[in-house]
């Protein structure tokens, strides 16, 4: 945290310094703020080698954290990657600038169907590109779950998480849940047969009740620790992001520790989201940021990232370059049937957000 702050401060100071020299060439620096575990190992090195632009790379694990930093102003970041619903609110608040598409020729590589979906959040696709997209679901340690629940456990259902009959037993080997008020309630409402995006008090109360029923079974609420915990076999189930769980699977296989992880999009349906890469309005290095977005949209670079992080991309030309393990994985690229059950998250009103945070706090602390 202190280093982030200092870096942001330096970014700001440098930005202020250079704002005065409109005609001077942009300093060869780029400050990127992205989700944790969300880029290939060599992406930044390749970008630096190709352009000579030095990248400062910082990470976050929730949209809320990103949004707070941007709302404070002068974050110093040139590239941010908010999820769709947050992205649209940032546009409304005037925090993101329009892309200069003439400087991003690789924009043409983007899948028009998916970009049309993203246009729900950003009419005209003026402010960002789809960096990666994915789903929320359950990551399970198959052997342990079967050991605890028996062979006929419903391994394709959110009942594993929401039904105390199963959750109470799984608690003995450990359950982790994303610590994100925005993402836990839509799936709970959907599981109860309610509108996932309902903002009614009554529906939120029912969803809270559902979580309260299993809160004592949950070992930890955290948005990134579950990757290692799953991979090491410390826990047997996590509610998390698709790619993160598949990364855990990959790490376990690499370590050869006999931990067998599966990612499940439960049959009840789940959240689908697009992470949008954009440029803050007060970015100190907007030119470098455009160059970075163009670089990311290179088919090989995008494919390298998908191969490493196990998330689907929206770059048509890269699909052929994505390795089969990832491309044919239904957890990464879901079938049309599964896709039809997935739902997006709409941008919430501030009033509802406050209730949502409060309710989630009740689930986490019991207060």
């Amino acid at each position: 945290m202190p280093s982030t702050f200092l870096r942001a401060l330096t970014g700001f100071a440098v930005g202020a310094l250079f704002a005065g020299q409109a005609f001077a060439a942009e300093e060869k620096v780029l400050n990127v703020y992205n989700w944790s575990d969300y880029i290939a190992e060599d992406t930044l090195a390749k970008f630096e080698a190709e352009t000579g632009i030095k990248v400062n790379y910082d990470v976050y694990d929730s949209n809320e954290l990103l949004e707070s930093k941007l709302l404070a102003g002068h974050s110093g970041y040139d590239i941010v990657v908010p999820t769709d619903h947050t992205f649209s609110r940032l546009i409304a608040a005037g925090i993101l600038q329009k892309l200069d598409k003439s400087k991003i020729p690789n924009f043409a590589n983007l899948d028009p169907t998916l970009m049309d979906r993203a246009a729900n959040y950003d009419p005209g696709n003026d402010h960002g590109i789809i960096y990666m997209w994915g789903t929320n679901g359950l990551g399970i340690n198959v052997d342990k779950v079967k050991e605890v629940l028996g062979e006929d456990a419903p391994l394709d259902s959110y009942a594993l998480l929401f039904d105390p009959k199963y959750a109470d037993k799984l608690a003995t080997c450990g359950i982790h849940v994303l610590d994100s008020a925005s993402e836990v309630f839509p799936v709970a409402r959907n599981y109860l047969g309610l509108d996932a995006n309902s903002e009614s008090d009554e529906d939120l109360e029912k969803a809270t009740e559902l979580w309260m029923g299993v809160r004592s079974d949950i070992q930890k609420f955290h948005s990134s620790e579950f990757i290692n915990a799953l991979a090491n076999g410390d826990i047997c189930m996590a509610f998390g992001f698709s790619g993160d769980i598949l990364q855990a699977k990959g790490r376990a296989e690499e370590a050869g520790n006999g931990v067998n992880i599966e990612y499940i999009i439960p049959k009840e349906g789940s959240l689908v989201w697009f992470d949008m890469m954009g440029i803050p309005a007060d970015a100190p290095h907007p030119e470098n940021a455009q160059a970075f977005i163009n670089f990311i949209l290179d088919p090989q670079i995008t494919a390298d990232i998908s191969n490493y992080v196990w998330y689907a991309n929206a770059n048509i030309k890269s699909t052929a370059l994505v390795v089969e393990d990832v491309r044919n994985n239904p957890g990464v690229y879901p079938s049309a049937e599964v896709m039809s059950k997935l739902f997006i998250q709409k941008t919430a009103t501030p009033k509802y957000e406050r209730l949502r945070t409060r309710s989630w706090n009740k689930v986490k602390t019991g207060i």
């Binding site: 945290m1 202190p2 809320e64 954290l65 949004e67 707070s68 941007l70 709302l71 404070a72 102003g73 609110r89 409304a92 608040a93 005037g94 925090i95 008020a181 930890k220 609420f221 501030p350 957000e353 406050r354 945070t357 409060r358 706090n361 986490k364 602390t365 019991g366 207060i367």
Partner: protein
């Protein structure tokens, strides 16, 4: 001092002219003192009162989407009036919802328990250091301060490795056969107590050492000569004389511990719900700066009482010392 100022101000009309050098020295004496005192006041103004005023201002604003995410208090209306809008709802909110009161009481309780433990650990340490011969004493004092040379965050993080269920402590206790099942310390209030006592111990030891070191050993010798038992001498002589150090050390531990965020976040559990977490939630999850500021103001008000007591005792102490000389 006041009399001196009066004399120099009315110098012209005085029947006996004072020498210019005396007048200059009187002038410097009064104003030089003011100058020296002005520096800490300026410091206080810049780094305490100004931020305080900003937080106070935000606490009366209303939430808005934008940069920054709150409304202006002052606006110029069309018919030329300045309109001041103060939203009191942020403070009303603190009483509406029990979570704030619970978080405050949790914070006070955890800080108080930790302070008590820090005192129990810190007093013998300070006493030992004060009684040590000069050479080792310097080394011991240096060792107390040494942990500050590494980052606070890293030191707290290291405790995760010690306290977790298959960590150093549990493995040691299990291998010694003292316990069969690992103790759950990480993720409970005990983890937080340990973290706070560890992190703030130097703030307890140093003021205690400063008072214990000044303690006149002849008082204890006299007590001994008069047949007083060591334990009673400790209770009736050492402890009362060390009281200023105890109060100073306790305040230095208690006050920051109330607002602690990092330690409960890393070593506590989901139900270790302290005011730092409330502030984080308001600020980062709700992005509601006004309510976050109101929470911060309430915390400050809550802490004013112990600070006043501290000031009072210090002032009394200073008076006592002054009279002694």
């Amino acid at each position: 001092m006041e009399a001196g100022t009066g004399a120099s101000a009315g110098g012209g009309a005085a029947p006996v002219r004072t020498h210019w050098r005396t007048r200059l020295s009187v002038y410097l004496n009064t104003n030089g003192r003011r100058l020296v005192l002005g520096v800490p006041y300026l410091w206080l103004l810049l780094f305490f009162l100004l931020p305080f005023a900003i937080v106070l201002k935000i606490s009366f604003a209303e939430f808005a989407i934008g940069v920054p995410p709150y409304s202006d208090l002052l606006e110029l209306t069309q018919d030329g009036y300045f309109r001041l809008t103060l939203a009191l709802s942020n403070y009303a909110y603190l009483f509406d919802d029990p979570q704030y009161v619970i978080a405050y009481t949790n914070s006070l309780r955890i800080a108080a328990v930790s302070t008590a433990f820090a005192l129990l650990v810190g007093f013998p340490m300070a006493y030992g250091i004060a009684k040590a011969p000069k050479g080792p004493r310097t080394i011991l004092l240096f060792l107390v301060v040494l942990p500050f040379w590494t980052s606070f965050l890293i030191r707290v993080y290291a405790w995760i490795g010690i306290l977790k269920s298959n960590g150093l402590l549990n493995n040691l206790l299990i291998s010694l056969g003292i316990i069969d099942d690992p103790l759950v310390i990480l993720g409970s209030d005990w983890g937080v107590y340990i973290g706070i006592v560890y992190s703030y111990l130097p703030f307890m030891v140093l003021p205690l050492y400063a008072t214990l070191e000044k303690l006149d050993p002849s008082l204890l010798e006299a007590a001994h000569d008069l047949g007083c038992r060591p334990w009673k001498a400790f209770l009736t002589i050492t402890l009362p004389l060390a009281l200023p150090g105890i109060v100073a050390g306790s305040m230095l531990v208690f006050i920051p511990a109330v607002g602690e965020f990092v330690i409960p976040e890393l070593l506590g559990g989901a139900d270790t719900f302290m005011i730092g977490r409330v502030l984080w939630n308001e600020f980062f999850l709700n992005r509601d700066w006004p309510v976050a500021s109101a929470v911060a103001m309430a915390m400050l008000i809550l802490l004013v009482a112990p600070i006043m007591i501290f000031q009072h005792i210090q002032a009394k102490q200073a008076d006592g010392e002054g009279a002694g000389r």
